[in-house]
């Protein structure tokens, strides 16, 4: 590995702090009592939305890199992914504590019975192995299998978007926009895979 210059380290710290701002803002609003008329709902909605936003940001890294040729953006991907997991965990805790009040038996029943909750739980559970294997040691240990494992993020993203769209009474607005962004990010990958396969099979390189 090449030695990293100092500037990206500073940028990384800035991104790290910026990623904590939404969480800090929620805590501050909770302490001041300005989370709105239904504070529990605000906490649940905001942690969920930020989990989804960071998930989409994580998924945007590779397309951004390919489109702009800014290869160093890859070094922020792990952090973005871990923040997605951080907000998803907070979101799960609002469900466990505020909605179910630690009634694990009722929670399990709820998860099994309701597809909208099931989708959210699938999205969250799929993130756990990814977070656990995000360390340098695990990347080395798993080798090529690491990349295969981390493709689970596509499923997690789809489950998260479905969860959000199903949650609302009318499928309109924000949930649909996020689903559309996800669709674009995944479609870009499908398109690249297909064109790579075509290049591999066809004798002529694609013209531009």
């Amino acid at each position: 590995m090449h030695a990293r210059p100092a500037l990206p380290k500073v940028i990384k710290s800035v991104v790290f702090v910026a990623a904590l701002v939404p969480a800090a803002a929620l805590v501050a609003r909770a302490l001041k009592g300005t989370l709105g008329v239904n504070p529990a709902e605000t906490l649940q909605l905001q942690t969920g939305i930020w989990a989804l936003r960071f998930l989409l940001l994580t998924l945007a890294v590779t397309p951004l890199r390919r489109v702009t040729g800014w290869h160093r953006v890859i070094q922020y991907r792990r952090m973005l992914g871990l923040f997605a997991f951080f907000y998803a965990t907070a979101h799960f805790l609002t469900y466990l504590v505020l909605d179910q009040f630690f009634a694990f038996d009722l929670m399990v029943k709820d998860v099994v019975k309701r597809p909208f909750i099931t989708a959210g739980m699938v999205a969250f559970l799929l993130m756990i192995p990814l977070a656990l294997t995000s360390t340098r040691g695990w990347i080395r240990r798993l080798g090529r299998r690491w990349q295969a494992l981390h493709r689970l993020i596509y499923l997690s993203g789809i489950a998260a978007a479905v969860h959000f769209v199903w949650k609302v009474k009318v499928a309109m607005g924000e949930p649909v926009y996020y689903a559309a962004i996800l669709a674009v990010l995944l479609a870009a990958r499908v398109w690249w895979w297909r064109s790579r396969r075509q290049r591999a099979t066809s004798p002529r390189p694609a013209t531009t």
């Binding site: 709105g36 008329v37 239904n38 504070p39 529990a40 709902e41 504590v97 505020l98 909605d99 179910q100 009040f101 009722l106 709820d110 019975k113 309701r114 597809p115 909208f116 909750i117 199903w166 949650k167 609302v168 009474k169 009318v170 309109m172 607005g173």
Partner: protein, 327 residues
């Protein structure tokens, strides 16, 4: 149900003081028939905009209601504050978010307001709002409001029994249902420019539900006329049903011999039934209805009661009915 003596809770304890102050900016029609004042602030709201400079479409000020019978029906539960009741609403005509109605409902003009009563009855008529209300005595009804989304509030409504209005119209004996329609005016109701629901919003009750003494047409809360986001100038309140049954800003009441179409039932019949009685035993397909979050609490720890706690009064309406089937 507790019938309380008036005066147990001084109004200053339950009403936001800032509103008392702001009220002075408006015409006070002292001693006038209560609902004659309903339209008054709308004349003044233009000048209000100049002094307070609220966002366009912001809140329209209310006027005080006088001479209502306090606490005709009440509860010993804590009332939700005026800010909670007026700042957290489902009124999709103004947007999907809970604070959209507060932001945008001010655009809706509620004066003049006409309610058409027609269908199967002897005395169909178009009523000016005041003429519809004036013959009846206003009553305060402190009801629990249980939203289908599993949150709840306690609201001090002021209104008149719907049954009395219905009797005046002399419905035909074959009129077994009542249909209600909300104002359709996309220019003032931005949500109606989207297809979130089929507009205008419609709701319906069986005749016996409509005639039940707990069912009211509300014109105010907390001693004043309704804010637009709460369904001004006149709305239905059926306390034993999920909130969406209590249709807002009503322009038409029609008597029918068939079960009318209703907005949410049309939009998603598997999730929202025609009856939609509060029932902890029948879950919404996407969430449990066994518990609720009493605003502004953090925990969804409040047990939901059958018929929202009004079972003693209304359960007999559904004797012999399978409430799982007729949800």
């Amino acid at each position: 149900m507790l019938i309380r003596k008036p005066g147990e809770i001084p109004p200053s304890e339950i009403t936001d003081e800032r509103l008392y102050v702001r009220r002075r900016e408006f015409m006070r029609l002292a001693g006038a028939a209560a609902v004659a004042t309903a339209a008054a602030p709308l004349v003044a709201c233009g000048s209000e905009a100049a002094t307070e400079a609220p966002a366009p479409g912001g809140p329209v000020e209310q006027s005080p209601l006088a001479g209502y019978k306090p606490r005709v029906v009440t509860t010993d539960e804590k009332l939700n504050t005026f800010q909670e009741i007026t700042g957290y609403n489902n009124f999709y005509e103004f947007g999907l978010d809970k604070d959209d109605p507060q932001r945008y409902a001010g655009r809706m003009k509620t004066s003049p307001w006409t309610v058409k009563i027609d269908g199967l009855c002897n005395k169909p008529a178009d009523y000016h709002l005041e003429d519809l209300i004036r013959p009846h005595a206003l009553e305060e009804r402190i009801y629990r409001l249980r939203c289908v989304e599993a949150w709840s509030m306690v609201v001090p409504w002021i209104g008149i029994p719907l049954g009395e209005v219905i009797k005046r119209a002399e419905p035909a004996s074959k009129a077994t249902f009542v249909e209600f329609t909300t104002l359709l005016r996309p220019s003032e109701m931005p949500g109606q420019q989207t297809d979130a629901l089929q507009w205008p919003y419609k709701e319906g009750l069986r005749m016996d539900e409509a005639m039940h003494p707990l069912t009211i047409l509300a014109v105010g809360l907390y001693g004043k006329t309704l804010m637009n986001q709460n369904g001004a100038p006149i709305r239905l309140v059926v306390p034993w049903k999920y909130g969406f049954k209590s249709i807002k800003s009503i322009v038409r009441i029609r008597f029918a011999d068939r079960q009318p179409h209703t907005a949410w039932n049309d939009a998603n019949p598997g999730e929202y039934g025609f009856y939609s009685n509060v029932n902890p035993e029948v879950d919404h397909p996407r969430w449990s209805q066994a518990t609720e979050r009493r605003i502004p609490g953090y925990f969804k720890s409040h047990r939901t009661l059958a018929f929202n706690g009004y079972g003693d009064q209304v359960a007999s309406l559904y004797a012999g009915m399978d409430l799982r089937k007729y949800y």
